[in-house]
């Protein structure tokens, strides 16, 4: 059996990298220096700026929980349930201090809402969203930083 292809999930191409370390790829406007994630399709979202050029930047790999919840019910399509039976998963919105952004993401499997609280430290990982016959469709997820670990 050959190894599956690993590719960003449809729609998230260019939004993150695993190399050399997992990071979200945002943009920084070359004119006003504001940050954008996901990438701006058209121009700078700062209404005081007419910038149209951006530097691609790696966003901070860790941040603090702004809020969190879980998905007890199976989400409808276009969500693809990765397992035969729906297994509840958590979703966190994480605040990145340097960029001033709050970014949502699924939380890695095995974490429940009882393990989370507002203000706690999370780090970014790249994980499988779902798999089909030949491809692992990848996405970013948040993972709690345990005491003593350096993110």
């Amino acid at each position: 059996m050959t190894a599956k292809t690993r590719a960003p999930a449809l729609g998230s191409e260019g939004w993150f990298t695993a190399d050399p370390e997992p990071a979200l790829l945002g943009q920084q406007c070359t004119a006003c220096r504001t940050f954008v994630f996901p990438k701006a399709g058209y121009g700078c979202p700062n209404p005081a700026c007419l910038g149209t050029e951006f530097d691609e930047v790696r966003l901070s790999r860790s941040g603090t929980v702004w809020s969190y919840t879980d998905a007890c019910y199976q989400p409808p399509a276009p969500y693809v349930t990765p397992t035969e039976e729906h297994v509840p998963f958590c979703i966190a919105a994480v605040e990145l201090a340097e960029e001033g952004l709050v970014i949502m993401g699924q939380v890695v499997a095995g974490v429940t809402v009882a393990d989370l609280r507002v203000g706690q430290r999370m780090e970014l990982v790249i994980d499988v969203l779902f798999s089909d016959d030949d491809t692992d469709h990848l996405i970013w997820k948040w993972k709690p930083v345990t005491e003593g670990e350096v993110a």
Partner: protein
């Protein structure tokens, strides 16, 4: 006293909310006919038809103004159709109000109706990887309740709100809805009932999240001059004193449907008001009144906890004090400032393009003293507030 930018609410009407499964046009026409009867005018008196669109009923839903106009019988009236997610009804109302204030119309019909599918609201079919509404489902599995729950959990961790506090909002609204013949759910519930219902998105249970419903609502708006000519025994009409359809200010720092991230605060400082705070603020500014002048409020309780957010966002109390307001009984019928005397979305479920219009119907009945069984005594001013997705929101101040 009436302001120079006031228009009159001459009539209101609704088709009861439910899960009827029939053509949305039927609900809209029923509501429009009720509103015309309530106003005491003929359909041919209406010179502008403003429809609030539904996205789930094919082409007739995208041109709702014309759809309802044809169903009521073509009269040559001018027409417009608006879509602004949950705020569609007020966007349609604003089109009518501004046309009347510009002197281009005397009498307008504002109408919205919906027939909704079962279960979670989900995006349209097909792969659309550049559509944020598709992306949040596909990449995160983030449903509407996900966002409601993020707001709820934040209240708990930041302000110390409890699940019991949230459940009490449902208990209050369910009690109010018992007396509302247009409400879909007319059943009292207890805190235990709420907490025993299945968890959907922690900390929110099934009974704390608004359902999707079928329904229709309509308002007849007219110029103050037309209202004066038309006034019979009805006395002074209810007036629309302020309308807000503001968009967020960059940087929008509270994550909301359907986005996966906020704007950045790295370069531009956040505004003194959040988006939801700015929605009501703009309506108060136009109306020239403030929260202390209100007799009641109809706010968008998509979840129990979101009703508490609104207490703060429309200025009924300071940040973090909503649970105290609720627990002191201030927002129940008979309290200082009853919120959702209609029963709110908790008793209606959401019929998207009709809901913001339904809020105006309820405030109108309250200001006329016609809200039998749920009347706020001596009501003279009310506000509606709602928020849709993609940066839409609305608020209307009504006075009498």
């Amino acid at each position: 006293m009436s302001g120079s930018n006031d228009v009159a609410v001459l009539g209101v009407g609704m088709h009861p909310w439910g899960k009827w499964g029939r053509n949305f046009v039927e609900y809209g026409v029923t509501a429009a006919q009720d509103a015309l009867r309530d106003a005491g005018i003929a359909w041919s008196d209406v010179d502008f038809v403003s429809g609030a669109d539904t996205m789930r009923n094919g082409y007739p839903g995208y041109v709702s103004g014309a759809t309802f106009a044809q169903a009521l019988g073509w009269t040559g009236a001018r027409v417009a159709s608006s879509y602004a997610a949950c705020a569609s009804g007020v966007t349609a109302l604003e089109a009518a109000r501004t046309r009347i204030l510009a002197g281009l119309a005397d009498v307008a019909l504002v109408v919205g109706a919906d027939t909704t599918p079962k279960g979670f609201l989900a995006p349209n079919a097909g792969d659309r990887p550049t559509d944020p509404d598709w992306l949040r489902f596909r990449l995160l599995g983030a449903t509407n309740p996900t966002y409601f729950a993020l707001a709820a959990r934040r209240r708990m961790d930041v302000y110390g709100a409890t699940s019991e506090d949230f459940a009490k909002v449902k208990v209050k609204n369910a009690r109010n809805g018992l007396a509302n013949p247009n409400a879909r759910f007319q059943k009292a519930v207890s805190v235990d009932d709420v907490l025993a219902s299945p968890m959907v998105a922690d900390p929110l249970h099934l009974l704390e999240i608004c359902a999707t419903s079928d329904g229709g609502a309509a308002v007849i708006l007219c110029s103050m001059a037309f209202a004066a000519r038309h006034a019979g025994s009805a006395g002074a009409p209810v007036r629309v004193a302020g309308v807000s359809t503001v968009t967020p200010t960059y940087p929008n720092t509270v994550i909301d449907l359907p986005d996966m991230a906020t704007d950045s605060t790295a370069v531009v400082a956040r505004d003194e008001r959040t988006f939801k705070q700015s929605i009501a603020h703009a309506a108060y500014e136009e109306a020239g009144i403030g929260p202390d002048d209100l007799s009641l409020a109809e706010v968008y309780d998509l979840s129990t906890a979101l009703e508490l957010d609104w207490y703060e966002d429309i200025g009924l109390c300071k940040q973090g004090e909503a649970e105290r307001l609720l627990n002191d009984g201030d927002t129940q019928l008979g309290g200082r400032i009853p919120v959702n005397p209609s029963g709110g979305l908790a008793c209606f479920g959401e019929a998207v393009p009709a809901q913001a219009i339904a809020q105006i119907c309820e405030v109108t009945w309250q200001l006329r003293g016609q809200a039998t069984g749920r009347q706020v005594e001596g009501a003279t001013a009310g506000i509606t507030a709602n928020q849709g997705l993609f940066g839409h929101g609305s608020s209307v101040v009504l006075v009498r």
